[in-house]
Amino acid sequence: MMAGYAALLWLVPVWPLLLALSLTLPAVRPYGIRLLPWALLPAALVWLVAGAAQLGWLDWLYFDWPLFLYAPDLLMGTRITLDSLSYIWLSLALFVWGAAAWHSSWVKDRQAWRFSLFFLLSLSGSLGLSLAGDAISFYLMFSLMSLAAWGLVIHEQTDFAKRAAHWYLILAVLAELVLFAGIVARAAELGSTDLAVWAVSGSSEWSLWLIWLGLAVKVGVPLLHLWLPLAHPAAPVSASAVLSGVMIKAGIIGWWLLMPSWVMQDSVFVSFMPWLGVATMVFGAVFGLMQTDPKAVLAYSSISQMGWLIWGIGWVWQGAEPSLLMIWVAWFALHHALIKGGLFLGVGWIKYSTAGQGFIPWVWGGLILLGLLLAGMPFSAGAWLKMQMKLASVDVGLAMPYWLLLLGSVATVLLMIHFLRRLAKLDTLSPDQAKPVSRMALVSWFGLVAIAASWIYWVAMPSWDSGALIDALKPIVIGLILATAWRIRIHKQVQSPPGDMVVLLEWFGRKLAAWGEGYQQGYQRLQFRIGAGWQRIGQGYQSFLQRADTAEKNLLNWPRFMQLLGGLALVFWLLLIL
């Protein structure tokens, strides 16, 4: 039983890979998109069984919990860990990827199988890294996910998509390499790749910085976020949903797993992470408000929401029992993942359907609900989690003015209002442009919305007193007031290009390219000159060779020969008597 379960666990990342491999057969390709939901089958099974085990339903089976698997021959020793935290990561991935898989039927072009391929690869990475128990397999899964997602970003091959993919790739590769350097450094110092060891052993600050930096790109820390607002809108909706919902969390997971979370109390990270978190919340919101594309708004919203997680992990590291505290952060991540996934997919429903279709109002309803959930309306997971996190952080001893957090919440509210407004302004499609509706997709979307709204009541028993409710309402009210005020008083869309600083960098890049051309020309000139020099040397050599004949003719002269003979004799004689 356990062996079978272990095998199932291995299949979680491997099964999608096998499906991806099957796509190499031309016969399978037309069914590429339809394969996608099946890729999650082992993950779903694992999720179910593990969930049951956590609830104690499987005690009669002597089911081990948590679960650690070790395969010494695979890579350089691969470990899989399934504990309550990775269970959360797994569920997060499972739901969002699941919904996205059903929604992929929108991708119906000739290259759909390619989309499926990358989808499956990325999915495998995403699931795998949730379960990773050693640094190498984490890195493997992380890079598999990141790089394969590039294929999702570029899929539509529009100019915008290409640009987005370009930046995505540059940053992903850079991040990957920095992360690699960090992982190598830690592995070298600790002599092990077991993450259980890593969690409790400190390392040199350098290596930690490298790891932090490498993952920060994925998290979308301001200044390293460049790729994010480009890639999320550029990808097909189902891809955007997983990018924003799941993959972005990989950075947080990485920080948690790869940094020595148990011994971080005194490190420099804990002193700046909470502040960075708050800054990210505000930053994301400010730039989000300046976007016109609803998906770009959502992307910035994701950055903003990641602020919460950054802030969260910042104080988690200060705690004595970080793994317990981390549950809050993980739940918040789950919360965000479900909602953000739903929102992106919802955009798809709005985008690809015509107004006449009957379910559209329901979709709008769902979207508004999701917006409210994200904004943390009372009785929502968001509100409750934020409150609990605040309390926990105070317990841990985080000293921070809490109005800053309120600012973050307000920012979320404003972003959601902005998002819905921009979404409403989206051009409607003519019936022939609309994509056919897949029942399963619709069901899965509403299912996702339902889960997003209710999951917290399954896993926890949130209790609401009046203070909590008021706290939850506060940002919503402030946000509404601000939005209305803005609308009345200014009524102007301040715009910022998606990806903000990218524009600067691109300008710089163009300059560089121009310099590069100049350099190339110079290099060619130099090469030409060197070539000419070589040619001259070659000619010199040829004429040197040609001179051989004349030189030898001189020696062929008989008198010269006799002179040389005599001279040689004299020289020998002299040399002998010397």
Partner: protein
């Protein structure tokens, strides 16, 4: 006599120089022949009449005739280009000459070389004269190889002449013809004498062969336009070219078989064997030298 010797030495040097530096080839050849004669004189002064005879016959006579024959086939006989005597050239060779003189001057005067050894073994040599003993017994291998050299020189010439007109200029005239009639038998006689005498006094196969060859050449010069002995290209003649060497070698091998070592003679028959060898050697030498002089070509003989 010292004055004569000195004069002779100077004359030799002077003739050599003139011969080398002459611009006209004919003149040079004439001077060369004169030089040969002077050298023959010098040998006489050194009390080596056999060497003198050989030199006169080969160095002056045969070589001179060969050179003249060659001359007749060259187009340009006079070198008209200006000639400079290189100082370096002169100095270098002068230096070497001085060195050579010094080197010979410094040789130990007391050295008798192998003479005592030779004398000690004269008894077993089978001949009476030390030079003959050395040449035909003690250092028989050298002599045998010299005969081979001679034979191969002829082969070489044959190889080179095989498609060309023999290089012979008919020098004959009535005077020559008539003198040849008288001289040829005389030369044969002298040759035979030298050969026989070799056993006990200076003389021997080489000298005899050379003189015989001179006689043959003289004969051919006077009676035949180009080829003195067309009919002698037969098997017997070819055998005779090699007879000297091979007799030597075979005797040597027999000596080896008898346990005397390669090139060893049975002491008892040494004298007789040596005489036999010398006889054939003389014939070989004479025929080879004569043949070389006249430059017989195979093709002509076949034709």
């Amino acid at each position: 006599m010292l004055i004569f010797d000195v004069l002779l030495a100077l004359l030799i040097l002077g003739l050599a120089w003139m011969s080398v530096s002459s611009r006209d080839l004919f003149e040079a050849v004439v001077l060369f022949i004169a030089l040969g004669l002077m050298i023959a004189l010098a040998w006489m002064r050194l009390q080596a009449p056999d060497a003198a005879l050989a030199e006169a016959a080969i160095g002056a006579g045969l070589a001179g005739a060969l050179l003249l024959a060659t001359l007749s086939r060259l187009d340009r006989q006079t070198d008209v280009s200006p000639r400079r005597v290189s100082v370096a050239w002169s100095l270098i060779w002068l230096g070497l000459a001085v060195g050579l003189v010094l080197a010979f001057a410094q040789l130990p005067r007391t050295g008798e070389g192998l003479m005592p050894d030779v004398m000690a073994n004269m008894e077993q040599s089978g001949v009476g004269h030390p030079v003959t003993a050395v040449l035909l017994n003690f250092r028989a291998w050298d002599t045998a190889l010299e005969l081979a050299v001679l034979a191969w020189a002829w082969f070489a010439q044959q190889a080179l002449n095989r498609e060309q007109h023999p290089g012979f200029l008919a020098l004959q005239g009535h005077v020559l013809t008539s003198s040849a009639k008288i001289l040829a038998p005389l030369l044969v006689l002298v040759g035979g004498y030298l050969l026989w005498r070799g056993a006990d006094a200076t003389g021997g196969a080489f000298q005899a062969g050379a003189v015989l060859a001179a006689g043959l050449v003289l004969y051919s010069l006077s009676f035949k336009a180009d080829l003195p002995y067309d009919g002698w290209q037969g098997l017997g003649l070819r055998f005779l070219w090699l007879a000297g060497f091979w007799l030597f070698a075979l005797v040597g091998l027999v000596g080896f078989a008898l346990g005397l070592g390669f090139m060893g003679y049975p002491p008892a028959q040494a004298g007789a064997l040596i005489l036999l060898i010398e006889l054939f050697a003389t014939l070989s030498i004479a025929l080879l030298l004569a043949a070389m002089f006249s430059g017989v070509s195979e093709r002509r003989s076949a034709a």
